[in-house]
């Protein structure tokens, strides 16, 4: 019984830490976005409070707390307040299923650096992300505002349209690895790269066997679709301020607005983490297999427990570095590309990305079957 309580406590702590990672990443990302956009546009950005303006985050949080609390008279109160809370849930639940580092073995216990290990990880994450439109629709309807409703319908139509391209672009990747399990995918990407076509083998030992080298088209489609899924520029039609003021969150302010923000950045973090997992080798350091790392940790730590912990922490840092690279691409793209028009957006999703994803699927299947890729 004591063992059970220990396990449950550890799992609960891990889950709360996963949630706190998302919540804590948001102010840092907002800071990076503001400084980064200033850097791109030849400005200074927030630089008054603290070193490099880093304390601006704390000031913003305090400011949010002292905002006036109100709901518009037209609003449906329950949905109006439930929507921002519900915006947090899909991103957090999906993020907790992502393995952030190599499992740590401490005596007889094995601690996985993830909220929970799920056998059908990809399906779970897709399924949970597919619940995201509810928060948008609840906010749009609950605000009792015409613009909010229009923005919500647009946003949800966009999210579900790109969910098709997103779901189809990873079919080729699943075929390559032959599994839904995220940890097994990372295992499969550790070996050095070698293409084998029609019995010939082309070894490229200086590169790791990352998914990107097997599925370049799928990776591009997945990344583009995840921009649309997280409502980021150039796909942020939901908030096209020229037509819709601010989209579904036009009536929100203060902390309610901030919760929507956390949800959006949470989707960004999940998308970047999935990108790293599927196509860039997960938590494994490029060029250094896990065995070498474990060996190195054993030599530099007092005993096996600490060695395992050290290896886990190093892989965690490696994973976070890779995720940060993709988050930076999210920010860079926001300040590089202009917003689409709505018909262009729908055309891109249905008539360009969906056929290309289909092509990728058929090509992968043919290569695997005919050429034994």
């Amino acid at each position: 019984m004591g063992h059970d309580i220990f396990e449950i406590t550890i799992n609960a702590i891990k889950l709360i830490v996963c949630f706190l990672i998302i919540v804590q990443a948001v102010p840092v990302l907002v800071w990076a976005e503001r400084r980064g956009s200033a850097f791109i546009q030849n400005r200074l950005g927030p630089n008054r409070i603290g070193p490099l303006g880093l304390l601006q985050l704390a000031a913003d949080a305090v400011k949010f707390f002292f905002k006036e609390e109100f709901a518009p008279a037209n609003a449906v109160k329950f949905l109006y307040y439930a929507a921002p809370i519900f915006a947090l849930i899909p991103a957090t639940v999906a993020f907790a299923a992502i393995p952030l580092g190599a499992p740590v073995q401490w005596n007889e216990h094995i601690f996985r650096l993830q909220g929970y290990e799920i056998n059908v990880g990809i399906v779970f994450i897709l399924a949970v992300s597919s619940l995201a439109p509810y928060s948008i629709l609840m906010a749009g309807w609950g605000s009792g505002n015409k613009y909010a409703l229009m923005g919500a319908l647009r946003a949800s139509a966009q999210v579900i349209s790109y969910e098709l391209a997103l779901g189809l672009s990873i079919v080729g990747m699943i075929m390559t690895y032959g599994t839904f399990n995220l940890s097994e995918m990372i295992q499969a990407q550790q070996a050095p790269l070698s293409y084998s076509l029609l019995g010939f083998t082309l070894p490229l030992n200086f590169l790791p066997a990352w998914g990107i080298f097997y599925q370049p088209l799928g990776a591009i489609l997945f990344f583009a679709a995840s921009f649309a899924e997280s409502n980021r520029l150039p796909f942020d039609l939901a908030e096209g301020e020229a037509e819709l003021v601010a989209g579904f969150h036009v009536e929100y302010g203060g902390f309610k607005m901030l919760l929507f923000f956390i949800g959006e950045y949470g989707h960004m973090i999940v998308a970047s983490a999935l990108m790293v997992l599927f196509y860039f080798g997960g938590y494994v350091i490029p060029g250094i297999p896990m065995e070498t790392l474990n060996q190195w940790a054993l030599e530099h730590a007092p005993d096996a427990n600490f060695a395992s912990l050290l290896a886990g922490l190093i892989t965690l840092v490696c994973f976070l570095v890779k995720v940060v690279v993709f988050l930076w691409i999210f920010i860079q793209v926001r300040w590089t590309l202009p917003r689409f028009r709505y018909d262009q957006l729908m055309d891109l999703g249905w008539k360009t990305m969906l056929p290309w994803a289909l092509f990728n699927t058929i090509l992968t299947a043919t290569l695997i079957y005919v050429a034994h890729l």
Partner: protein, 121 residues
């Protein structure tokens, strides 16, 4: 069991959201007047929600999404088992049957594009 964890984190996040919204509502000034409670529609007198006419395209997009989504979902078990089928020698049969399924999918998509159901003028 992962299910307990999923339920736990869902409830935890919901409670976190409720607590933080409640805490934020304790601070801050409150100066209300009737104008503040109006819907924010750029100062024009507020229109009723039911006057809004919304394009039937949204409905069409949603229903086509459901259909294609189901077809894509059916590709997932195929994708995981494809290598196993090839190993056991049934690869060709499964490959052809999936190509037939994909041909129906492509025909459907082609037809939708042809019939201008996906045009947003």
């Amino acid at each position: 069991m992962p299910l307990g964890g999923v339920i736990f984190i869902t409830i935890f996040v919901a409670i976190f959201g409720v607590v933080i919204l409640f805490a934020a509502s304790l601070f801050g000034t409150r100066k209300y007047d009737s104008v503040k409670f109006e819907s924010y529609e750029c100062g024009i007198p507020v229109q009723e929600k039911k006057d809004t006419k919304i394009s039937v395209k949204f409905y069409l997009t949603a229903i086509l999404f459901i259909l294609f989504d189901i077809e894509i979902i059916f590709m997932y078990p195929w994708a995981t088992t494809f290598r196993d089928f090839i190993k056991s020698g049934e690869g060709g049969y499964v490959f052809i049957s999936m190509l037939v399924f994909l041909a129906i999918f492509i025909f459907g998509l082609f037809w939708e594009v042809k019939s201008k159901a996906l045009e947003w003028e």
